[in-house]
């Protein structure tokens, strides 16, 4: 591991201004998180705890109320632009509905001024890699949810970002498709070992994919409350690895830390 982490969030606090009379809401408080170069880190936490908020801060889309973000040692200032070394797969659909599949995949290359022939060739190659060969001329609305997710994956990966930010990319998929995509992601990741910050609220997914799992507390004032190393062998098959005793042990361990927070979040939401 290199000395400089790919991504370092230091003492981040994020408060959202009050809306319609309510007090300001502190989503994240004094949170620190690092992702080493080539490391696959998952963040789990109850719904609404501030996972997406953290990721937006890491992407440079949102500036924290206090604290700093460093990308490969350089300070990231959201007002000066987004994190150029990162690719971001959003939780919600973010494909351009007026572009075809291939048009969406090569959008990033277009923005970078890559020549069209070159971009199209790369785009076709990526469509094949995510199993969408022949679907390049379809519009997003003509694709299934799983196909759209794979398209979004290709759209992000084609730029070969050094850091990959993923916000519950597979949560909307059925279990089978999801495991297929998880395996695909691992295979793609194994090729060139990007740094990955992967958000999920599914603990099994987090363990199956990552080198490290970070557990967040329930909101408000979310911060990491647990950091677990996942020492399972690679390459992994996400459906098989779930059957191993090591997996079960890790799952028990991490779940013990998470459970209380999930219940807290649940109680808070019920009270609200």
């Amino acid at each position: 591991m290199s000395a400089v982490p790919a991504l370092a969030l230091k003492d981040i606090t994020c408060r959202f201004a009050a809306r319609d009379g309510g007090g300001a809401y502190t989503a994240v408080a004094n949170a620190s998180l690092t992702v080493e170069a080539g490391e696959f880190v998952s963040v789990v936490g109850p719904t609404g705890c501030g996972k997406s908020t953290l990721l937006n801060i890491a992407a440079g889309l949102l500036s924290p109320s206090s604290g700093t973000v460093e990308v490969f040692g350089e300070k990231l200032v959201a007002s000066e632009g987004v994190n150029r070394r990162a690719g971001y797969m959003f939780q919600a659909d973010a494909l351009m509905p007026w572009r075809t599949g291939i048009g969406n995949v090569i959008a990033g290359l277009e923005f970078r001024g890559v020549e069209e022939d070159e971009a199209l060739a790369q785009g076709e190659a990526w469509l094949r890699r995510v199993g969408l060969a022949g679907f390049g001329d379809r519009y997003p609305h003509q694709m299934s949810g799983g196909m759209r997710k794979r398209l979004a994956l290709a759209q992000t990966l084609i730029l070969s970002p050094d850091i990959l930010l993923m916000d519950e990319p597979f949560s909307a998929l059925d279990v089978q498709t999801r495991q297929l995509m998880e395996n695909e992601l691992l295979a793609l990741w194994a090729e060139d070992r990007k740094s990955v910050l992967f958000i999920t609220h599914d603990l099994e997914e987090a363990i199956a994919l990552s080198d490290r799992v970070v557990v967040l507390s329930a909101g408000p004032a979310t911060r990491p409350i647990g950091d677990f190393k996942v020492d399972l062998d690679r390459p992994r098959d996400v459906s098989e690895i779930r059957m191993t005793p090591d997996f079960a042990r890790l799952h028990r361990e991490i779940w013990a830390a998470m459970k209380e927070e999930v219940l807290k979040a649940y109680a808070a939401q019920k009270a609200a």
């Binding site: 992407a59 889309l61 919600a92 494909l95 007026w98 609305h141």
Partner: protein, 265 residues
Amino acid sequence: MKLRILQFSIFALLILVWHLMTTPGIVPPFYFEQDNRAAFFFGEPVKVFGVVVDWFWSGEIFGHLGITLLETALGFVIGSAFGLGIGLWLALSPTASAVMDPYIKGFNSMPRVVLAPIFAVWFGLGIWSKVALGVTLVFFVVFFNVYQGVREVSPNLIANARMLGATRHQLLRAIYLPSAMSWVFASLHNAVGLAFVGAVVGEYLGSSRGVGYLILQAEGTFDINTVFAGILVLTGFALLLDTGVGVVERRLMTWQPRASETERV
């Protein structure tokens, strides 16, 4: 097909009722004192169609129709271009939008048809005064749609494009413009209709050519049949324009999901 037959039957029925009520001697007069009064006020369909056929047969109408359509097209294109440009500008610049807000609201609430005589003074009795009226009508429809469209671009889409490396300029071209265009198309039917209204009303208020002018002249001589013939031709062409817009819309908006896209087997 069945739909078309029904639609046509209603049309035929309307014409028939019109014919029966206005031809002297068929239905005894129940409102007017004299038998031929109804025809004086409502025209007679046979004569109205006679006028229409005559117009097309002699080719007399084409010059007038051409002028009206030209005014419509110009009013539509110029109005849309302004609407699109200013809509984009104000939507993307909160300061400008806040400053301009009362003016936009004011101009929009003003009954703009009353500007027609002023335009006639400014631009003369040629086509440009009609185009100007069409522009003022079209502009606001397109403007509000674009403004709304840009404001409602999903923040996700913008964030995604930014993460993919889009500059401000590229954001405009790749996200805001296409998104605004879909709203422009949504307002296209309205906009074309209003451009047509602008042209005809302008002609009606003062001109030497155009279908509106034909109607005005006929009214001057109480030639009710010609007035109705003019209205009929205008309605026909308005429908035709609307159909044309529909075709263009479907061509350019293939990316939009349509209600029923499954094919029956």
